[in-house]
Subunit: 307 residues, 2 copies
């Protein structure tokens, strides 16, 4: 039984642009977010309060959020790695402040050590005060679990390892959890096992999927999740970004491809697919590279032809 | 309940190369087929006996088949549009002659008229003597149904229209039927309806799926077919080819992506994925264009890195 409605969390402005070679001006980022909102996207991962030393592409987090006027019904998300990052976010005026913050863990011990400079257990300990402070300020906290299907250093990751870190996130009060196939190696059977391992700790309504299309498997994996009742997915318009550790990577699944699938299945997203494809074409042009979305490319080509 | 084993019909040498801009020398085509066979592919759509006037890329059908030495257990397929085409095929010596011929119909009246210069009913009448002659010569006949999900001229195609042409093919003795999403517009729910409409006329073991990745939906559609018990799919290594009528088309689903999915699901294909990806990289280089396979590209990049 498929869900009747699915929520797309558009991660292009953060996860996407963070992993693109060409920098984008703050005003263009704001215009990009506005185009996505005008296309009906209601949840957006807009930026990150990671140290500008590590992620210079997103050093303009405060400035960008200050330029945005969030429409009614729209929720913004931002990554926060630690309490100082969260304090920078909380210093924003109410109307500019994202309603949801994301802490970023991993199901792979080696990936955690390379990416966060500490093991999984220690990363959860470090996140605990972030979660507490965010909750005190009235924010929702998502926990992202990277390498939920496989790790570039460790190889395949056992579903039990995913269940373990999801349980630890539950223990520190994380509100909902995103399961991320960071290097895109998952296939539907394994994805099902991972969702089931996470569902031991959270109801399905508090779980979301984040898939990469590196091996072309993202939509098949999303279909498997839909069959389980999952109804929340990250996606990146034009397939922006990816994982810098994944060789030959096409990155995030393209939002246009996901929305095409969902609408074809009769599932409501609230998104205007043509307007979304236009936003994808617009940012691709700004980045000087072709869109990585197949649906976006096909829709755009079709609309340029005489009818 | 997924099938334990799936048969891939590799259509790159015919459907793929027919729709590529750059011509390929006959010797390279033969080398390509041999690489695919060495990778474990056991069913290959090798060429076409359509008039060279219409498809000059495949004018070397007789010469190509003469250069091939079919390994034990391998089956070759060839398109035959009419009795004269079939007679050219039958003139080949036994060891070079394909075991399976393909007649090409459509579920869309307008597509049939534009592509075959006659309506659906008349196309079936024309195929009847081809089927009879092929059977008399001991060949298996597949009926391909193009536009099974949608038509570039008519738009969406009703599953009942697919059921109708499949029933007509049954009537003239076609052995098994391939359902083709020629322009790649299908999504899993509609695909299921189409397979069910065809299954009114043939057992599932005599049906196969042919999907295009124009909108990125091919693997999700294949997963839906697997869930129904379908166990035979066309695919084109490196995503070669496509439909010349589909704007902005990436074409056929890439064999590497399909095999990655199937192996991930624990389904046996008999194919060595690394060797397959090498064949895809090899022909892409010959064609002077990047591979359209995501799995192929990722596997190839990974293997070039130091481990």
């Amino acid at each position: 039984m498929l869900p009747q409605r699915v929520t797309i969390v558009e991660v292009g402005p953060r996860d996407g642009l963070q992993n693109e070679a060409r920098p984008v001006a703050t005003a263009d980022k704001a215009a990009f977010v506005r185009r996505l909102e005008a296309a009906g996207v209601r949840e957006l991962e807009v930026t990150s309060f990671v140290s500008p030393r590590w992620v210079p592409q997103l050093a303009d987090a405060t400035e960008l959020l200050g330029q945005l006027r969030r429409p009614a019904g729209v929720r913004h998300h931002a990554l926060v790695p630690n309490v100082p990052g969260l304090e920078r976010l909380l210093a924003l005026p109410d109307e500019a402040r994202p309603q949801e913050v994301v802490v970023f863990g991993a199901a792979s011990e080696m990936f955690s050590r390379r990416n966060l400079n500490c093991g999984i257990d220690e990363s959860i300990e470090r996140f605990a005060p972030v979660v507490a402070r965010a909750h005190a300020a009235g924010l929702v906290v998502r926990g992202a679990v990277s390498c939920a299907l496989g790790c570039p250093f460790e190889g395949p990751i056992a579903p039990a390892a995913v269940g373990r870190v999801v349980g630890l996130m539950r223990g520190i009060g994380v509100d909902h959890v995103g399961l991320a196939d960071t290097i895109g190696v998952g296939t539907p059977g394994r994805v099902r096992e991972v969702v089931e391992a996470a569902a031991a700790h959270y109801p399905l309504t508090d779980l979301s999927g984040h898939f990469h299309d590196t091996y072309g498997q993202a939509l098949a994996n999303i279909l498997a999740c839909l069959d389980l009742g999952l109804a929340r997915f990250d996606a990146s318009v034009a397939g922006l970004g990816g994982c810098p550790y994944a060789p030959g990577a096409t990155g995030n699944v393209a939002t246009e491809d996901v929305v095409y699938l969902l609408h074809g299945l009769g599932i409501d997203t609230g998104i205007d697919l043509d307007a979304l494809a236009d936003a994808g074409a617009w940012i691709s042009e700004r980045l000087g590279r072709p869109s990585a979305s197949r649906a976006g490319t096909a829709l755009h080509a079709r609309r340029r032809l005489p009818t």
